[in-house]
Amino acid sequence: MADKTSANAYWAANVRIILISLVVWFACSFGLGILLRPALEGIHIGGADLGFWFAQNGSIYVFLVLIFVYTKVMGKVDREHGVDE
């Protein structure tokens, strides 16, 4: 029974981290890259406006950082809950 509770806690923690990560994933690509581009026209990154840069380059960098942070955080959570290999 203790096993089951611990597994549920582990899964709840995992789902929470996934949801936070998905918010970041959505915000940088669909948010800054598409939906908010007209509103943020005035802000520039070098020769490109913010939305254009996020759509063509920026969101890819965020995706990369996001996956590695998720991997690291989950590695920690795995160990805390004693479910690592």
Binding site: A7, I18, S21, L22, W25, F30, E85
Partner: protein
């Protein structure tokens, strides 16, 4: 040494490496054949996945699609975000759990999780349709690249490519393919970035193309940014600005989403994550894959924008320092005499580039002509042909028609404006650069930038590496679906491992023959079926996998209903505009933006199909019986990393 010999040497060396690796990494067991024995380091697996994922479309076409998009390069960012963002979904939502599940194929998971041979069969069918669709494009890419760079016929190029894939995929299986793909990745990334670095240095002074994209334009003293320069040059010529807002934000949103969840649902991509030793490695492997993919994808927008700028300033030399129309356009005499412009003639021979001196001034004026001018110009061409073909008695009538067409064209030219002058005042008869194919932008890039011959040869080797590595990955996905899911799973469960390995090799040989035949006789709709492949992956495989992992309540009935409704909904929406089963003329509505529901193009419908799948699966599951206890145990076990052994074949 001439260019042809150089191409032969560079391509020959890379092929020798691939075959050498295949012989060294021969697969001895089904585990090695399907999943490389789960002993591949995440970094190497990431490189192999990168090569597997980046196909002829990524390498040859993507930058050109962005560069030449009529609505501006920004709108095509959907490809850049879509084909990379899918890896976030893979890492977060699918890869670790499918690795823990510990079997070989995607249909096998669907069959076990939804305790149904029927669900598994639908999975197999979707997988085969998606993979075959994809592989046709790769075989075609191999044929075209060979014929351009090695001067053999397209068909001969295809046979050479097929033979090569046969050697290393059939012998090596996943193990051979994985290590070969690592080598192919190295070749393709060098081939893509080297020309980009040279061009970025010359246009912006930045060594990194990623910085060049947002850098300043060096030839005019660096006072204006490269993108602003590009915008001003193309708008002066009547094109939409490169950085224009999208006219249809909803469609761009859905297209990006479809490509993302389609990527995460492509079986030959998912299968890669069965190859790593541990669950934690499946997460980091998705990250490493994206590192290697991002190396190309962050360079692609720089390649696209700079190639567009280079192309425009080549045809309007005045645009380098001032406005395009401030100096005469490129002359025919220059194209013939200047060695740095020899690529114009070379590519004209391939038919991918075409020009015509319509006003007879010896110059090639490239601009965006209004549709009225295009239509009037077409009428003149037709009337001229009719006059030549007419019998003596009909000549006066034909002449009258031609005069009328010419008058109409004159009227259109007096009406249309470029800047503050009309086309008639500028002495123009229409756009004279009549064709620039998207694919030229990457393949001709080194020649446009006058780079050394070995770089040109390298690009040929890179394009072949991209097409061959993807073809091999797809063929493996097809062969495992047939031998493992269809023959062992449904027809003869008592198949020995040795017999299954033989069947896998037979299935792969068969798949290569079918793919080669389809490559030789490509269905006219090859480009359109890609929409179907992504739509299917997004609307069937991704939702069913995700629900299988994240919900304990979705049952057999829900999953089957969801997949079928998602499949039918998506396919029908595409067929309504593209023709039923892609048969020309059977479409119910014209394939133009004005006819789309809410402006959603058939390319973007996969995201809607996925939502439909989720809703149907949920509702049907709620009104039918919950899954049995052993399935609940399975779900609980895949959610926890601990205890992931080597993959099991049973």
């Amino acid at each position: 040494m001439d260019q042809f010999t150089l191409n032969l040497i560079v391509v020959g060396i890379t092929f020798a490496i691939y075959i050498g690796i295949a012989l060294w990494a021969r697969a001895g067991s089904t585990a090695e054949f399907y999943a490389a024995g789960q002993g591949v380091h995440p970094v190497l697996n990431g490189m192999a996945t990168g090569a597997d994922w980046m196909s002829a479309a990524s390498f040859i076409s993507m930058a050109g699609i962005i560069a030449l998009a009529p609505a501006g390069g920004y709108e095509q960012s959907a490809y850049l975000m879509g084909w990379t963002g899918g890896y976030v979904l893979l890492a977060l939502l699918l890869a670790p759990y499918l690795r823990k599940f510990g079997k070989f194929t995607v249909p096998e998971f669907i069959g076990d999780r939804f305790y149904s041979g029927g669900a598994r069969l639908i999975g197999v069918i979707c997988l085969i349709v998606i993979s075959i669709t994809y592989v046709i494009g790769q075989m075609r890419g191999v044929g075209v690249t060979f014929s351009r760079f090695l001067e053999v016929s397209t068909d001969m190029g295809l046979y050479i490519g097929a033979a090569l894939v046969f050697v290393y995929a059939v012998l090596g299986g996943m193990k051979g393919i994985t290590y070969t793909q690592v080598a192919q990745y190295v070749v393709l990334i060098i081939a893509y970035t080297v020309p980009a670095i040279f061009i970025s240095l010359s246009l912006t002074g930045s060594f990194l193309p990623q910085l060049g994209l947002i850098g300043s334009y060096a030839p005019s003293g660096g006072e204006i940014s490269m993108l602003a320069k590009l915008d001003s040059v193309v708008t002066e010529l009547g094109f939409k600005a490169y950085t224009s807002e999208t006219a249809n934000m909803l469609n761009m949103f859905l297209f990006t989403m479809s490509l993302m969840i389609g990527t995460a649902g492509l079986p030959h991509v998912i299968i890669r994550f069965f190859t790593v030793p541990k669950v934690a490695d499946a997460r980091s492997s998705a990250g490493w894959s994206l590192v290697f993919i991002a190396l190309l994808y962050t360079v692609a927008p720089a390649v696209g924008s700079m190639a567009r700028l280079n192309l425009t300033t080549t045809f309007w030399p005045g645009a380098v320092t001032g406005s395009a129309l401030s100096a005469p356009a490129l002359s025919l005499a220059d194209i013939e005499s200047k060695p740095e412009l020899s690529w114009v003639e070379t590519w004209r021979h391939t038919g991918l580039l075409a020009f015509e001196d319509k006003n007879g001034d010896g110059l090639i004026q490239y601009f965006n002509e209004p549709k009225a001018v295009t239509d009037a110009g077409k009428a003149v061409t037709e009337a001229t042909a009719a006059l030549t073909a007419a019998a003596e008695a009909d000549k006066p009538a034909a002449q009258a028609t031609l005069d009328q067409a010419n008058a109409a064209l004159d009227a259109a030219l007096a009406e249309a404006k470029l800047g503050d002058k009309t086309l008639a005042e500028l002495g123009l008869r229409g756009n004279e650069l009549t064709k620039v194919d998207n694919d030229i932008m990457v393949l001709a890039n080194p020649e446009i930038a006058a780079l050394p011959g070995w770089v040109v040869a390298l690009v040929a080797a890179g394009a072949l590496a991209a097409a061959l590595s993807t073809a091999a990955g797809l063929l493996l996905a097809i062969s495992s679906a047939i031998s493992h899911d269809l023959i062992k799973g449904s027809i003869n469960p008592n198949l020995s491992e040795k017999a299954e390995l033989l069947w896998a090799r037979i299935a792969m040989t068969g798949a290569i023959i079918v793919a080669t035949w389809l490559g030789l006789n490509p269905p006219g709709f090859a480009a359109q079926v890609v929409a179907l492949a992504f739509g299917l992956a997004a609307a069937t495989i991704f939702p069913v996998l995700m629900m299988g992992i994240f919900s304990k309540r979705i049952n057999k009935e829900g999953a089957i209903a969801g997949m079928l409704v998602g499949l039918i909904f998506t396919a029908c929406y595409i067929f309504v505009y593209k023709g039923w089963f892609f048969i020309p003329g059977t479409n119910n509505l014209p394939d133009t933006a004005a006819n789309y529901v809410l402006g959603i193009s058939p390319l973007s419908i996969g995201a809607v199909g996925a939502v439909v799948n989720f809703v149907v699966a949920y509702v049907v599951s709620m009104v039918t019986k919950a899954p049995p206890a052993h399935v609940i145990d399975l779900i609980e076990s895949i959610r926890v990393p601990k205890g992931a052994g080597a993959a099991q074949s049973h």
